[in-house]
Symmetry: C2
């Protein structure tokens, strides 16, 4: 059977992930043929740096300096874009679609920003744009959300989708060291890039969250309107204080309908209206399965109205874990090319199921930390302001500080409150004379 069906693959970009994909395609052609019924052959690799492609073991005659030459070979039915970025990569994908090729990409930034245009063009040309590797690396999450949970209306999604941030926060918690030191260590060990801003400022998580929103909540957001906070300002003091009280800090992508669909066993209301979408550092109770996901791992926890809670955990980055996801898309696209059917086809929703809610209307529990001069009445003044703004306090702690100027830390754990009321309180307290530095605000997700 394997020798009867074949599908050629063209790879654009021979970098870290591209190298992994080439390695998998070259080394396990037989295994893939046995499992898919198709002889999947890497026919060409395009990279501006021919030496880099050659170093992967790709025969010289298969190396192209210009990706457009791929389209001259009619045997190439699946084109894999692994350049990254939103420049050449966009042209490569649009050109491949125009040339009638199925496309596999890991490019979350591009899809989050120009996905509508790309998927619309693919629909028109009747080809697939598959992107399993764009979110949560090796975890087959796109497959799970698109096909595995197709019968569900989703109630919530919480995800640790950036391994760099998770590594840094795990190190901060384990070692007690400040952010800058843990970032430097992560850079030294290859868990963070030389310019780490796309990771630590939450942009990368935001790109992934935008795709997850479209997939799982049928809501395509205009990327710049997404609320994004990174981890650059996270203080080791807050990790220590909350850690001692049973919390773990994670950078989360959060998607929550204001009125989630009810569990189907109990009814069928909700599931429309407004959607909160946000990337932010959040405290999780230590028993939460996401709290135990440490180091560079990724994990996504979902609730569906039929399936209830699910969690998917694994490597979110790295050469071979990411290549594993890319090759799974190649196999599905090759199957569609050879045997027909829809394959891993997906289009953004024509109409959004939800509109975007402003973060000021978010309702959850909050952790607030104020560094204050240890003067009489400070705790009372803070709690009075919070009370006046409808923020009810679940727990309050004042810690003798190790601050050089003798300042103390006042930590408040609120009951569920509206974020706008929290912000109004902080604005008011911000003007008070006892305050030293900017207060910390960290959401508690449950």
């Amino acid at each position: 059977m394997a020798d009867k069906h074949s599908c050629g693959v063209g790879l654009i970009g021979a970098g870290v992930v591209g190298g992994g994909v080439a390695g998998l395609l070259l080394s396990r052609r037989e295994l893939l043929a046995r499992r898919t019924g198709i002889d999947i052959e890497l026919l060409a690799v395009a990279d501006v740096d021919a030496a880099r492609a050659a170093a992967l073991g790709v025969p010289e005659k298969k190396i192209l300096a210009d990706y457009r030459l791929l389209f001259d070979n009619p045997e190439i039915k699946v084109v894999v874009e692994l350049i990254g970025g939103v420049g050449v990569a966009a042209n490569a994908i649009l050109d491949a679609i125009e040339a009638g090729r199925h496309v596999v990409t890991a490019n979350k930034a591009l899809l989050a920003k120009r996905g509508r245009e790309i998927f619309a063009k693919a629909d028109k040309k009747g080809v697939i744009v598959a992107f399993e590797a764009a979110v949560a690396g090796g975890i087959p999450l796109i497959l799970a959300l698109r096909d595995g949970l197709v019968a569900n209306r989703m109630q919530s999604l919480l995800g640790i989708v950036n391994g760099t941030c998770n590594y840094i926060l795990s190190q901060m918690a384990a070692s007690g060291r400040p952010f800058a030191e843990c970032l430097a260590e992560a850079q030294r060990l290859g868990f963070a890039e030389a310019d780490p801003s796309a990771d630590i400022d939450g942009l990368d998580s935001g790109h992934k969250l935008a795709l997850l929103s479209a997939l799982a909540f049928e809501t395509w957001i205009d990327f710049p309107s997404l609320h994004i906070e990174g981890i650059r300002d996270i203080r080791d003091e807050d990790i220590r204080i909350t850690g001692n009280l049973g919390y773990t800090l994670k950078l989360l992508g959060v998607i929550r309908p204001e009125q989630p669909p009810e569990i189907i066993a109990k009814g069928s209301g909700g599931g429309s209206g407004r959607l909160f979408l946000s990337v932010h550092p959040a405290l999780l109770r230590r028993g939460d399965p996401l709290a135990g996901v440490s180091g560079s791992l990724n994990a996504v926890k979902t609730e569906g109205d039929a399936v209830m809670e699910s969690m998917f955990c694994g490597r979110g980055a790295g050469r071979y874990p990411t290549a594993s996801a890319v090759v799974s898309d190649i196999a599905l696209a090759a199957s569609a090319a050879v045997f027909g059917g829809r394959g891993p086809r997906w289009s953004p929703p024509e109409e959004n199921a939800y509109s975007l809610a402003p973060i000021a209307d978010y309702r959850t529990r909050y952790y607030l930390r104020f560094t204050v001069l240890d003067a009489p009445g400070v705790l009372g003044r803070i709690t009075t302001v919070l009370g006046r703004n409808q923020v009810s306090i679940a727990a309050a702690h004042q810690f003798e500080g190790d601050h050089p100027d003798g300042a103390a830390s006042v930590c408040i754990f609120s009951h569920v409150a509206r974020e706008g009321d929290i912000l109004a309180s902080l604005a008011e307290i911000g003007g008070m004379d006892f305050l030293r530095g900017k207060p910390a605000l960290i959401r508690i997700e449950e």
Copy 2:
């Protein structure tokens, strides 16, 4: 688009899961049409109890007393078998295949025992037998292993795949109560059946493990040759002692090649030879992600040579979680029926990648507990026997017993040892005069 393509579904069995499937198909026809491009319509429900089908809200004219009547309707392209058991269900599935219908089933017992015959017949007739709901309920695990991790050679699989056992063991750990009490409670709360033996004796986990072996390790086993231990003999004393030392006890399905494939980044050796397949109670260190999966949840942890570790967690049973998986198969089968392509097609391996290894050759760490008369030299006699059998001891504890006859508990944690050597030691110690009752042997999985 939705009105242009349609696919009829016939359901056999209107019990708990069947009711959930009918509920989902009837209530979210529009949502499924939007997501799949197909109007998926429940055209008939066959059940010997017509009233049970009617109670699901199925119109009377769609209710059939005999499943064979389903095949008279050419609009029914997908047949869903949810009777369970290996009698009528087998005939229903074989008849549906014979009639050229795609089949969706949750019947792990049947597939584990007669899967070869069923899949072979489906291949011959060119139809699909999809079984997402047969393993780990609502978790889209089959999809992940078949398609998502298609590029991987698997290194290990450990799974909590029976919610009843996990519930009972979680309750034993939380409450300190003995097995019988926790079983009775589970029965009262609906987490265990009146006749719980298929669950607590590990058979149900075994059925699932057989399917996972075929899917993830390309090794189809003759079901009766599978090593299966249940949880009936687990003593609360062992949960307490090991719990105090940082371990959690779970009933696991375990699949491990004797020589696992190397991580691809490091080589490509291994991955053939013998395979250990076993269902047994096992101790996990508390930091292991599987250790945190409590109550009736299921979870499967895998290691692949490209993707490395992954974990999939969620509800393994229950009306709507299971129906969620069934409907995902229905959607994929409907897509194959309408748009062509291979859909969720899968066949057992033609040749097994591994042969089955006898459990006597298993190598892991072991926990042993001996209840002994508190006489001089007992600990020495036990450890001498172990040493003579090449079992090296990592830790040994003797606890003053709360046994009525003044007996004490001697607990041994071995280093990695060969199971045959452990068993030889137990046989030898079994004849010694100080021993009271049967020693406990629990594997430690890391």
